[in-house]
């Protein structure tokens, strides 16, 4: 599973996703940081872990609960061949099918999100339906860290293990920033892993930019006997010099010069 060729391909894919994420970033005031922070996770999910169907079983499910990271999802749609790369810079413009949050106007979007705190409960329902039908389909919900301040997340987290649901995986993109600043300054989440454990989830923590570690964690989750929470420690705005790891990364528009510098940095990424 973690063979070097696969890892190299996924790293290249993640770099490509980041380049796609940059496409609208200089024309559109977007949630750049949260899209960049989850790019490696999105690459691992969409180009390795998730099974989009075959004759033998139903497709896996992916819900982007942190809907503001939509440009990372649109980048995957380009790489999956469902959206033309030329559409990306037009995101949010009149007539585009690519909005500022996931909507069903875009192809392959399973669930429209935007208001935070919705998709974990929906993921529980989807996983329940698949479990009732003895389907091997997996359900993955990508959560933001700030989003965990929503009570609905913990309501759904409390309910999920009661139904079994080893087919459910929640990934927390723990990039440490939310709209108003550092999560630790707004409302801290720690001890976060302990919280999920106390809610009877299996918990794994990884460096969310370490692809071999991400793959190992995903495969462990697929073998778990209960729902898994994968806490991915990430850097907000990862890959964008000057923006990476800052509060500004959450919601910003890049100058043409900044975008060019970011593109050059990504080109230099091995």
């Amino acid at each position: 599973m973690s063979d070097p060729a696969n890892i190299a391909a996924l790293k290249a894919r993640a770099a490509t996703l980041r380049r796609h994420i940059l496409a609208p970033a200089s024309t559109y005031f977007a949630h750049l940081g949260g899209a960049m922070s989850c790019a490696d996770i999105m690459a691992a999910l969409h180009f390795h872990f998730l099974r989009f169907g075959g004759a033998d079983h139903r497709p896996d499910h992916f819900l982007m609960s942190k809907g503001h990271a939509v440009t990372a999802l649109h980048a995957c749609l380009v790489e999956l061949g469902h959206v033309d790369a030329a559409e990306l810079p037009l995101s949010g413009q009149s007539g585009s099918r690519l909005a500022g949050h996931p909507t069903k106007r875009a192809p392959l979007v399973e669930f429209a999100t935007g208001s935070l705190g919705h998709a974990l409960a929906v993921g529980v329902g989807i996983a329940l339906a698949e479990q009732l039908d003895a389907s091997p389909s997996r359900t993955v919900v990508l959560l933001g860290d700030g989003e965990l301040q929503e009570g609905t997340i913990w309501e759904a987290a409390l309910a999920a293990p009661r139904f079994g649901l080893p087919n459910l995986l929640a990934i927390v993109d723990y990039n440490r920033f939310q709209s108003a600043g550092a999560v630790d300054d707004v409302v801290p989440l720690e001890p976060l892993a302990d919280k999920w454990r106390a809610f009877r989830w299996r918990v794994r923590e990884v460096d969310g930019h370490d692809l071999p570690a991400i793959l190992d964690a995903l495969h462990a989750a697929a073998q778990a006997d209960a729902p898994t929470a994968l806490i991915a420690h990430t850097v907000k705005g990862k890959g964008v010099p000057g923006v990476e790891g800052t509060a500004r990364a959450h919601y910003t528009q890049l100058s043409a010069e900044e975008a060019a510098r970011a593109r050059a940095a990504l080109e230099a990424t091995p």
Binding site: H61, K104, E110, F111, A112, T113, G114, S115, G117, H118, A119, L120, A121, V122, G123, V124, G125, I126, A127, L128, A129, E130, L132, D133, G151, T152, E155, A156, L158, A159, R162, F163
Partner: protein, 306 residues
């Protein structure tokens, strides 16, 4: 029949539907085993505990993955705490969740204003693609639940304290107002439990020589605009009656139609911009707020003299 009893009798319908359709599941919040359903379909009854947002989100997920979920939850909590989940997860995402919602209106009586659902129609009326059913008696409640299963999209079945209306067994056509009594002096436009109230008012008015048409609005959304316009043209006097605020609910909806039509005068019977915090059993609470036959009769007479 209380809304709770009505909901349980509705569960018989859901059981029948479940027997015929493997997609049917029941999702509830702290209701315990549901007589007639849980023992027959133990794996298809999912109780998520006291958590409205999860209740609705889970149901939306079940619908998304191909199930036909019926949600059993109390009207005030499901519609107010769960509003955004109904809006986003069910309607916006086009997940056909069917809500069976007892304890609408003032039925909870002396349990107090937290347990009254007198704004649910106003809230839900704003959600595109959602159907709102409000049956008038226990038989119609069963027919409405059966109809909900076949209606495209999410459906909210509003259940209150429903008395059997003798001789009423009209087939349920979603979106079509039922004319329960004819009359051209005025029209009483009622929904749910207040259809029986309107029928009682009709009898009282008849004894005064006033012929009041009685309309049963068993579908609040989409509203049968043509029947309202016809009543306005034929009678010129409309009285709405509902266990709901007069603003935003049936009265508000009819007012919108009449304003656009430019015909007909209106009186609205219902709760007037205040919490029903009096400590009183349900029938007394209705009387205090004028949601009874004398209240409707008085509103019609006022219009007749205006």
């Amino acid at each position: 029949m209380s809304g709770y009893a009505g909901a349980l009798s509705g569960m018989k319908v859901v059981s029948e539907l479940a027997a015929a359709d493997a997609r049917v599941v029941l999702v509830s919040q702290d209701f315990g085993p549901i007589r007639g359903f849980t023992e027959r379909f133990p794996h298809r009854h999912l109780d998520v505990g006291i958590s409205e947002e999860t209740l609705i989100g889970v149901a939306a997920g079940l619908a998304h993955a191909g199930k036909l979920p019926f949600v059993l939850g109390m009207a005030p909590f499901v519609t107010m705490r769960g509003f955004e989940q109904i809006r986003d997860d069910c309607a916006y995402n086009r997940n056909a969740v069917k809500f069976i919602a007892p304890f609408s209106g003032l039925e909870a009586g002396a349990w107090g204003a937290t347990h009254h659902a007198i704004e649910d129609i106003a809230l839900l009326r704003t959600i595109p693609g959602l159907t709102i059913l409000s049956p008038a008696d226990p038989g119609e409640a069963q027919r409405a639940i059966r109809a909900a299963a076949t209606i495209d999209g999410p459906v909210y079945v509003r259940l209150g304290f429903l008395k059997k209306i003798d001789g009423y067994d009209q087939s349920f056509e979603p979106g079509q107002i039922v004319e329960m009594r004819g009359g051209d002096d005025a029209a009483i436009v009622a929904t749910g439990s207040t259809v029986a109230t309107a029928l009682a008012a009709h009898t009282r008015l008849a004894s005064q020589g006033i012929a009041a048409r009685v309309l049963n609005v068993h579908t609040l959304k989409p509203l049968d605009r043509a029947a309202i316009e016809r009543a306005a043209r034929d009678t010129g006097r409309l009285v709405t009656v509902e266990e709901h605020f007069i603003d935003g609910g049936l009265g508000g909806a009819v007012a919108e139609i009449l304003a656009e039509l430019g015909a007909g005068r209106l009186r609205r019977v219902g709760v007037r911009d205040r919490f029903c915090s009096e400590v009183a059993p349900y029938p007394e609470l209705l009387r205090i707020h004028g949601i009874d036959a004398p209240g409707v009769e008085a509103a019609v007479c006022e219009l007749m003299q205006a």
